[in-house]
């Protein structure tokens, strides 16, 4: 490993950090409904999900050949661009986690990549129509496909079991739900750990450590698998609470229908050639199951907040990615500065989260005021209240500037604007 430069080392570590945030951000997909219906105890649920993610990481030998699947032109991509993209994706993942909103980690990565690539090589490096077909359209389709499937499944299951005792069937539903949740975890480990391995491998190839087309070294596979599993085990309790309790209240039959629908849609979409985001599929399933039961309600205010977060994912991660790319373009000091800003920003978000921590003990507590996802007072509440598109970007930016002495990620984003219009 004598050839690994400082920049390359930073990129590898950042990619693993992204993998880690991806893990705890996405625990909710597999385990939120499992926890909220009581199928598994919170700690047992995340442990099982983490183990399956780890197994999943080792299952598939095929590593993602591209990071973005054609969204940006990756020919001759510089290592700094990958780094800047990861910074954007990590910060957006942390902000949405702080607000307890499920949003797609892959879309955050795409956003960061787009921002960094535009800053580095101009708008021509972004393939606009691929953005529509791979990000925007799936974001609309995923909740509809998964929602309709889960809603009909919920209706059917309530119809078939209408003459049976609820208590007698609950155990069976919970067992079925655990199986579906296991499938979702396994698929997540295979897909998303693979993605990080792809990023690290690509960075190593770009840096000249590996020859093009090489398979990832063992240490890359092991560390990517461990990072995603550790993230999963840590548990993104805020997001789990939103998904398991905040969107709707789920009874065991609904939880089973939602999780089975999610598992089916995820597998069907990745094997029939129309990739859908796991997070968006799972959120859609939960809402569908909520609507499928007689008298079931979906809290649309929470759902709306979530949809807005989905819409903001690309631009927000893109702005941070562009800002980070601007700084890394200034030379080694810029790279180091971005690394410091990333650590400071993450630390600040973590500190904000401690004002009202959510952990495995209160994750199933009923979400306090009916219409709110139950977030802390102070800064965070303001940020939530401000979840109308422009203010949130502002709030996010404000968070960053507040942490950081230099107005870094905001100011450099501006020079990109003239190019936009």
């Amino acid at each position: 490993m004598e050839h690994i430069t400082l920049l390359l080392a930073i990129v590898v570590v950042t990619a693993l950090v992204f993998d880690f945030t991806n893990g705890f951000h996405d625990t909710a997909n597999a385990m939120a409904t499992t926890i909220s219906t009581g199928a598994l105890k919170p700690k047992a649920a995340v442990a099982m999900s983490a183990a399956l993610n780890l197994v999943g990481a080792f299952l598939s030998v095929e590593v993602a050949k591209t990071i973005s699947g054609g969204i940006i032109n990756e020919k001759g991509i510089r290592t700094e661009v990958i780094f800047a993209a990861l910074v954007g994706a990590i910060l957006w993942n942390l902000v949405t986690w702080l607000l307890g909103l499920p949003s797609s980690s892959s879309h955050a990565l795409f956003g960061g990549l787009i921002g960094a690539a535009v800053m580095s090589a101009g708008w021509s490096s972004v393939n606009g129509s691929t953005v529509v077909t791979k990000v925007l359209l799936p974001a609309v389709a995923a909740p509809i496909v998964a929602g309709v499937a889960s809603m009909l499944a919920t209706r059917l299951t309530y119809r078939i079991n209408r003459n049976t005792d609820e208590k007698a069937t609950a155990k069976g539903y919970r067992a079925g739900q655990i199986a579906s949740a296991g499938l979702v975890s396994l698929a997540h480990g295979t897909n998303d750990a693979q993605k990080t391995m792809g990023i690290i491998t690509l960075a190593l190839v770009t840096g000249g450590v590996l020859h093009p087309g090489a398979n990832p070294p063992m240490w890359v596979i092991v560390s990517a698998g461990m990072a995603i599993a550790m993230g999963t085990y840590l548990g993104g309790w805020r997001i789990i609470r939103t998904m398991g309790k905040g969107l709707t209240e789920l009874a065991p039959p609904q939880g089973f229908a939602a999780q089975s629908g999610a598992a089916t849609v995820i597998l069907a979409s990745s094997h029939l050639g129309f990739s859908l985001s796991t997070t968006q599929v799972c959120s859609g399933s939960v809402m569908g199951a909520g609507l499928g039961r007689k008298g079931g309600v979906v809290r649309w205010s929470t759902a709306t907040r979530m949809f807005i977060a989905w819409g903001l994912t690309l631009p927000a991660a893109g702005l941070v990615g562009a800002g980070a790319e601007f700084l890394t373009g200034q030379g080694t000091w810029g790279v180091v500065l971005v690394a410091i800003l990333l650590i400071a920003g993450s630390g600040f978000i973590w500190k904000l989260s401690r004002r009202q921590p959510v952990d495995h003990n209160d994750v199933t507590a009923t979400v306090p005021p009916a219409e709110s996802p139950a977030e802390p007072a102070g800064v965070v509440t303001t940020a939530i209240a401000a979840v109308t598109p422009p203010p949130t970007v502002a709030a996010v930016a404000a968070d960053l500037t507040a942490t950081i002495p230099a107005p870094a990620p905001v100011a450099p984003a501006d020079p990109a604007r003239p190019a936009t219009v």
């Binding site: 129509s129 059917l156 069976g172």
Partner: protein, 74 residues
């Protein structure tokens, strides 16, 4: 811009049928098992209820195995 509506439609159709089918099957299994309990208490046919239930669960298990196969075989 090329949008692959056929793939999207297939995903939608397959997801819908498989989800509803599996959930329905599993529910029939669960209901069969709970009937088995009441059948043991003196009404209905225990053997039929139990066989149906196990058949349903076996089909669901096969579906899960196929799912794992899809994940691994990618």
């Amino acid at each position: 811009m090329h949008i692959d509506w056929a793939a999207l439609g297939t995903v939608f159709g397959v997801s819908l049928i498989v989800t509803v089918g599996l959930v329905g099957l599993f529910t029939v299994g669960i209901v069969g098992l709970s009937k088995q309990q009441s059948a043991a208490a003196g009404k209905g046919n225990v053997a039929v209820a139990r066989t149906t239930a196990y058949l349903c669960f076996a089909l669901c298990a096969a579906a899960v195995a196929y799912g794992i196969n899809l994940i691994v075989g990618k």
